[in-house]
């Protein structure tokens, strides 16, 4: 089994899918001759040529809409957004076009397209380039949304996304592009809509998606030192959401900490917390804890930007509250 970076796993997925299906094309800013702003598309231009790997002008609305139109008549475009921050310029084409095509046409048409790019905070990027915008997409019926945390899922979910008959938004993470992990050599697909239990435990359930999943694993290690067995769930897909896995776990542990690097209000994390509170109300021994980013735009200063985001310490503290391991009860 090969050790691949998250970046190379995505690259392998696109490479294999482009080789498999000539209708798959990749377009976006710097995806071709520059080999990708984050080198995710490295080598694809050389392999598939400029008809299938296209550098676009910096017109997110324009090329996103163009991708939707191409998808409506049979192509399988992959639209790369340099980051999800810039996708805000294209949100109309996702929300009003891609997500509605099947519906508005009474089922006659579809837009099988993948929108992908890095989402969430990186480092030293200040407020316009360090935003976690998952809820913008997770909100919308008519699309699917995935957020891989590991190279194997990046590979398997992107391949599923490219083959999906509906629009799929892929939330990658700049901070994970260099993360290495095992990816099986043989081809496989990761099903969209299935969460992964990364670690089993009986005392508390930790839930997140994307980059913060790595914090959950570290938090679980910390908690183990306190004799707490934490179960760690990586949602992998936000839409559809695998509620079954979450609820089965909370039924066992009676406690949950939900982590989302987005802002707190109207976020995927707050939604998951609400679902647990509703579905597992009678079994909860503590309020569902929710760790999000602070409700502020991201500052540039490094100490400040770290303080804004979820951290292992914040997650452990939330878990201890849910476990009543804190002694200072008012």
């Amino acid at each position: 089994m090969a050790q691949l970076t998250y970046r190379d796993a995505l690259n392998r997925a696109m490479d294999e899918e482009m080789a498999r299906d000539p209708k798959v094309v990749l377009m976006g800013e710097e995806v071709a001759e520059y080999d990708g702003a984050y080198k995710v598309s490295r080598g694809l231009l050389a392999k598939y040529g400029p008809e299938r790997v296209l550098d676009t002008p910096i017109t997110e609305l324009g090329f996103t809409g163009l991708g939707v139109g191409a998808a409506m008549v049979g192509l399988r475009p992959i639209v790369e957004w340099m980051t999800h921050n810039f996708a805000l310029l294209a949100i109309d084409q996702v929300v009003n076009e891609a997500a509605k095509t099947r519906h508005m046409s009474g089922g006659q048409l579809s837009a099988p397209i993948v929108f992908r790019g890095p989402n969430g905070p990186a480092e030293y990027l200040s407020s316009q380039h360090s935003q976690a915008l998952a809820s913008y997409w997770a909100h919308i019926p008519g699309i699917r949304v995935v957020a891989p945390a590991f190279p194997a899922d990046a590979y398997g979910l992107l391949k599923s996304a490219i083959r999906d008959p509906d629009p799929v938004v892929v939330l990658e993470a700049e901070m994970l592009y260099g993360f290495k992990g095992e990816v099986p050599d043989e081809e496989f697909l990761t099903p969209i809509g299935k969460a992964a239990v990364l670690r089993e435990g009986s005392d508390i359930t930790l839930v997140s998606f994307g980059k913060p999943v790595h914090m959950l694993l570290l938090a679980a290690t910390e908690l183990e030192k306190l004799g707490v067995q934490a179960e760690v769930i990586d949602l992998r897909s936000l839409r559809p959401l695998d509620e079954g896995t979450i609820m089965a776990s909370v039924a066992k542990t009676k406690r949950a900490v939900v982590v989302d690097e987005s802002w707190p209000a109207a976020s995927m994390g707050s939604y998951v917390a609400q679902r647990i509170s509703f579905e597992r109300f009678d079994l909860l021994d503590a309020p569902v804890e929710f760790v999000s980013s602070e409700d502020v735009p991201m500052p540039y200063n490094h100490a400040l930007e770290l303080a804004v985001q979820p951290s292992v310490e914040k997650i452990v503290a939330a878990a201890k509250r849910a476990l009543y391991l804190e002694e200072s009860h008012g």
Partner: protein, 475 residues
């Protein structure tokens, strides 16, 4: 067949329009899109363009007339074509399928109606004379609801905010703790919560249940006490009214109003909001009365109830202060010729006030006998309207619950109600000594429209004097 032309909605909110002007004349040949007429909508004057090409055969609604959306206003067709069949087929009613537009139209006229001169619907003046005001519903007279009585829902002050209020007595607890407590038969109130703000959490229930003899909570103890031979201490006497009334346990349930509940709600809301209540309190030394009652009961098979003594003395006080024994009639105050005393009796799901008539003329034994009969009938649900209606004055005694004092809501047609608390020993100053005396707190609720403060105070002073020296009643 010729084409019917209906009034159409020329604005999204238009229900009808006034035809300001017919731009086209009868006989004129129009193309579709040519202006037929100008229509004043609720928003603006709009051109109504012909939906078809042809000759304007007949104008059915002249300029200046109002037409509802869907109403036939004209007929078009080929020159010389018969318009009458088309008109006949569509006249009077809305266009086929235009029901949706007809309804808002009617609604709109209904809204306009109240602005019409209200010659016929001028409210009638309140009838004068001896009739009670018509606003007095002919509901059976029911007893008062004691404010702050134990069965009334009471909510603890939230420590966080209003939204987190929990039922009184139930500590904060996690859903899991509540579930476990129910399974293990643990009374949450007997568990000390170790979570934030004293929240009872799962481990507290487990620890409590594991502790030997640790989970006999108040309710289960009360239930245990009800069993013969039980050794468990009971904080509330099993036979007391409190245990009878509260033996259900908490529940989440929506219960439709019973007839009785509905009448209580209606009458007492009306009484409390419709008559200006005020309250006069006295503390009564009960030693002499209780001694008297003990002496009288000493040789009797069946003890006379304290309530019978109370009613007799109240009747005596009313005789001396007839302004209290009165009824508000809107344009007059009716002073009532006898002390017809109601006594509030709690029932399952409500309460009722059997009335002992003319207490001023009857002896205590007589009053007690009738009261016993009426209360038994009340509990059996067998009281007749004449047995519970028309109290001139009402007494509510929550002393058996241990209530110190309370205020009650006036029970019409009476104008006052006396709320009696428990008799309990208090330290009082007699001469220069502090002594223990059996004291009862009494509160009179009065309708200020009928009874002024000084009158209520004088009555209560009389009542206190009579209770403290019952022999005064002989005078």
């Amino acid at each position: 067949m010729a084409e019917p032309i209906f009034m159409i909605a020329l604005s999204p909110t238009m229900n009808e329009g006034v035809i300001a002007e017919w731009v086209a004349k009868e006989g004129q040949v129009l193309k579709s899109g040519d202006a037929l007429c100008e229509v004043e909508t609720d928003k603006a004057t709009m051109a109504y363009e012909s939906p078809v090409s042809g000759s304007l055969l007949k104008i059915l609604q002249p300029a200046g007339s109002t037409a509802a959306v869907g109403q036939l206003i004209a007929v078009m067709g080929k020159a010389g074509e018969d318009w009458q069949a088309t008109a006949a087929a569509h006249t009077g009613q809305a266009a086929p399928g235009a029901a949706a537009s007809a309804a808002p139209s009617q609604a709109a006229s209904a809204q306009v109606a109240p602005q019409a001169p209200a010659t016929a619907s001028t409210p009638s003046p309140v009838p004068s004379g001896s009739q009670p005001p018509s606003t007095q519903p002919a509901f059976p007279a029911l007893g008062p609801v004691a404010m702050g009585a134990p069965e009334a829902p009471a909510y603890a002050e939230s420590r966080i905010g209003g939204g987190n209020a929990l039922p009184a007595g139930l500590p904060p607890s996690s859903p899991l703790a509540r579930k476990l407590a129910k399974e293990k038969g643990v009374d949450l109130r007997s568990v000390r919560g170790s979570g934030p703000r004293g929240r009872v959490i799962a481990r507290d229930i487990e620890a409590h249940a594991a502790a030997p003899g640790g989970y006999a909570g108040a309710l289960s103890a009360a239930q245990a006490a009800a069993k013969p031979g039980s050794q468990a201490a009971s904080p509330v006497p099993a036979s007391s009214p409190a245990s009878r009334l509260s033996a259900k346990g908490l529940r989440s349930e929506r219960v439709p109003l019973s007839k009785m509940r509905s009448i209580i709600a209606s009458r007492l809301s009306q009484s409390y909001s419709g008559s200006p209540h005020y309250f006069v309190r006295v503390a009564i030394d009960m030693e002499r009365l209780l001694e008297l009652r003990a002496a009288i009961n000493a040789g009797r098979d069946k003890a006379l109830s304290l309530n019978a003594f109370v009613m007799k003395l109240v009747a005596a006080a009313l005789e001396r202060h007839p302004v209290i024994n009165a009824s508000w009639e809107g344009d007059a105050i009716r002073y009532l010729p006898s002390a017809d005393l109601g006594l509030a009796v709690a029932l399952e799901g409500g309460l009722i006030t059997p009335v002992v008539r003319s207490c001023e003329l009857r002896g205590i034994e007589d009053i007690d006998g009738e009261l016993g009969t009426l209360v038994a009938k009340a509990r059996a649900g067998a009281l007749k309207p004449e047995e519970y209606g028309g109290a001139s004055f009402t007494i509510s005694n929550l002393g058996s619950f241990g209530v110190e004092e309370f205020t009650a809501i006036i029970n019409p047609p009476g104008s006052a109600i006396l709320a009696l608390g428990a008799v309990s020993k208090e330290a009082v100053v007699v001469g220069d000594d502090i002594v223990a005396r059996r004291i009862m707190h009494a509160t009179l609720s009065s309708d200020h429209r009928v009874i002024d403060g000084a009158q209520a105070a004088a009555f209560m002073a009389e009542l206190k004097a009579l209770f403290e020296e019952p022999a005064r009643a002989l005078m």
